[in-house]
């Protein structure tokens, strides 16, 4: 969409120009995303190290800046081991499903005004669908490995992700009621005057953030891959590139959740105040800054909070978050009904 006019100007037929422009923007988007993930991964390890008063990765390249690329090469060059007793097709399909779904979600994320690969009407539903499908990679991997730890991990994942999806859904509904649209760009534009976190929706941000932690299996909800109980959970049997794909998919969906937090509550590409020095900064920088802020929070939670017990996890999801978010749907609907005149 971004380059359609450019290519059409070169004398191409319109639908071909559209196709080429979509292809090019997806390619650029994915490459930038991968490089960003490489450095966020390093930032994650550095933050984690700083909390524990260690140095973190500092050997490969200046300040360890090339560490992720060294790891990448290591994973790519190792031998792929497929267990003899595994269900081979599903076993290899699982990491591909994980990473494809994690990439697919980014298609509807608006980076700036008009900077979006697919500006569809039901963007937020699409994003919700893609993030809730992430559980399939884990279930398929756990089942296909034909091994006890991955299987237990798959069962945990299924129950955990379905539980937290419910409260994420309700949080999204409160935002939709306020924004009046399912299109992500329109949701951001509805926050022009004040970000949703400064409205009556403010209690939904912590709920969404914690549910996002649970949905992406980050600590303190990493029971799916709890080292002390399940060795490494669903990817015990995975090595080399398939493992790399799982790892990549996990980080892609974490950053996607950070992007969702900033779009739904912190006004996406919008500056905090619509005044001169702030609104002169390009929108994409604000958006990246917000993503980095949420990623920092994700990293700090990982570094500081001890792992939950499984029954505590279920209690938090069903007995605390679900009633609260359900109540807040009613409160928000009443607020919109009372304080907003119908157009």
């Amino acid at each position: 969409m971004l380059f359609t006019d450019l290519f059409a100007g070169l004398g191409m037929n319109h639908s071909f120009a559209w196709f080429l422009s979509q292809f090019l923007s997806i390619l650029i988007f994915d490459v930038v995303l991968l490089v960003m993930i490489a450095y966020l991964l390093l930032a994650d390890r550095k933050i984690w190290a700083a909390v524990q008063m260690r140095r973190g990765p500092n050997v490969v390249g200046p300040f360890g800046l090339l560490q992720t690329f060294a790891d990448l090469t290591k994973f790519l060059l190792k031998e792929v081991i497929i267990p003899a007793g595994s269900n081979k097709v599903v076993f290899m399909l699982a990491p591909l499903v994980t990473v494809t779904l994690a990439f697919a979600g980014w298609a509807v994320v608006p980076l700036d005004k008009g900077w979006v690969v697919a500006d569809i009407n039901v963007g937020i539903l699409y994003l919700f669908a893609m993030s809730s499908l992430g559980v399939y990679g884990i279930i398929m991997a756990g089942w296909a490995s034909n091994s006890k730890y991955p299987f237990l991990s798959a069962l945990r994942a299924a129950a955990q992700m379905v539980s937290y999806e419910v409260s994420i859904g309700f949080v999204i509904i409160t935002v939709l009621l306020f924004a009046g649209s399912l299109n992500l760009s329109k949701i951001v534009e509805a926050q022009q005057n004040h970000w949703f976190v400064f409205t009556i929706l403010f209690p939904m941000l912590p709920i969404f953030f914690v549910s996002a932690l649970a949905e992406t299996n980050r600590p303190p909800f990493d029971l799916v891959e709890a080292e002390s109980e399940l060795v490494a959970g669903f990817f015990v049997e995975y090595s080399s590139t398939p493992f790399l794909l799982f790892f990549l998919g996990e980080y892609l969906s974490i950053v996607l959740m950070c992007a969702m937090c900033s779009i739904l509550f912190l006004g996406g590409w919008l500056p905090p105040l619509d005044i001169w020095p702030l609104n002169a900064v390009p929108g994409i920088l604000w958006f990246l800054l917000k993503i980095c802020f949420f990623f920092f929070m994700f990293a700090m939670v990982k570094a500081m909070v001890p792992r939950y017990r499984y029954d505590q996890l279920m209690r938090l999801g069903w007995k605390v978050f679900l009633p609260t978010s359900l109540l807040w749907v009613v409160v928000t609907a009443a607020w919109v009904l009372v304080f907003r005149q119908p157009a």
């Binding site: 639908s15 269900n87 599903v90 569809i120 009407n121 039901v122 539903l125 699409y126 919700f128 669908a129 809730s132 499908l133 559980v135 399939y136 279930i139 398929m140 089942w143 299987f151 798959a154 069962l155 299924a158 129950a159 992700m161 379905v162 999806e165 859904g169 399912l182 029954d311 209690r315």
Partner: protein, 205 residues
């Protein structure tokens, strides 16, 4: 041109995966093919312009229902030969249901006019000027709100029924009370005794 290619692509995979759902020997593979079928049905909805239905199909059926299917099927210890043996006896009943479905599809697809209103509703998934989501919202929450509420009540009754049927109250079981646990302090939990050697604690705990 592109729409026709996409339509045949989605339809072909949909039919092939639907056949594989009943033909696959492994029940987990059946569920995975079912998920593929859902995905392609969602693709067909998108081609129709019914984007909201497509996303809801994926969120509800693939994201929640099929996960639970997979959860249950994965834990079953199924003897495949045993499962295949009795399946032929259900053939007449299955064929009957299939026949009814085909008849309904033919009725809906052909020019058979049941009700003039139905004809106009079939014309487009996105009536003039409003999005698919808004059109569905108006039908569900404005035109047919009472039917929608009644459907909700039926589901509520079903949910309560399921809870009542599976609820067992066992006496004498110590249950976890989170508030009591959180209210517990060091003073309540620790009891200090000054014991002399060779004396032992008496009823200290």
């Amino acid at each position: 041109m592109f729409e026709a290619i996409a339509f045949y692509f989605f339809s072909a995979i949909l039919i092939a995966s639907a056949v594989m759902v009943i033909a696959a020997r492994n029940p987990v593979h059946s569920v995975l093919f079912l998920i593929l079928a859902f995905f392609n049905a969602a693709g067909l909805f998108v081609l129709l312009g019914a984007e909201f239905l497509a996303m809801i199909l994926i969120v509800v059926y693939v994201g929640a229902v099929a996960v639970l299917f997979l959860f249950v099927v994965m834990m079953l210890d199924i003897d495949f030969a045993e499962l295949k043996r009795g399946s032929l006896q259900y053939l007449p009943f299955g064929a009957l249901i299939g026949l009814i479905l085909v008849a309904e599809l033919v009725m809906a697809g052909s020019a058979w006019v049941l009700k003039p209103v139905a004809q106009s509703a079939m014309a487009s998934a996105t009536p003039a000027g409003i999005t698919n989501t808004e059109a569905l919202g108006r039908i569900l929450y404005t035109d047919y709100i009472y039917y929608f509420q009644i459907a909700g009540l039926v589901l509520l009754v079903a949910m309560i029924g399921a809870i009542v049927l599976t609820l067992r109250s066992r006496p004498g079981v110590r249950r976890q009370v989170i508030s009591v646990q959180n209210a517990r302090t060091a003073a309540m939990a620790v009891d200090m005794h000054d014991l002399k050697p060779g004396q032992g604690s008496e009823g200290g705990v």
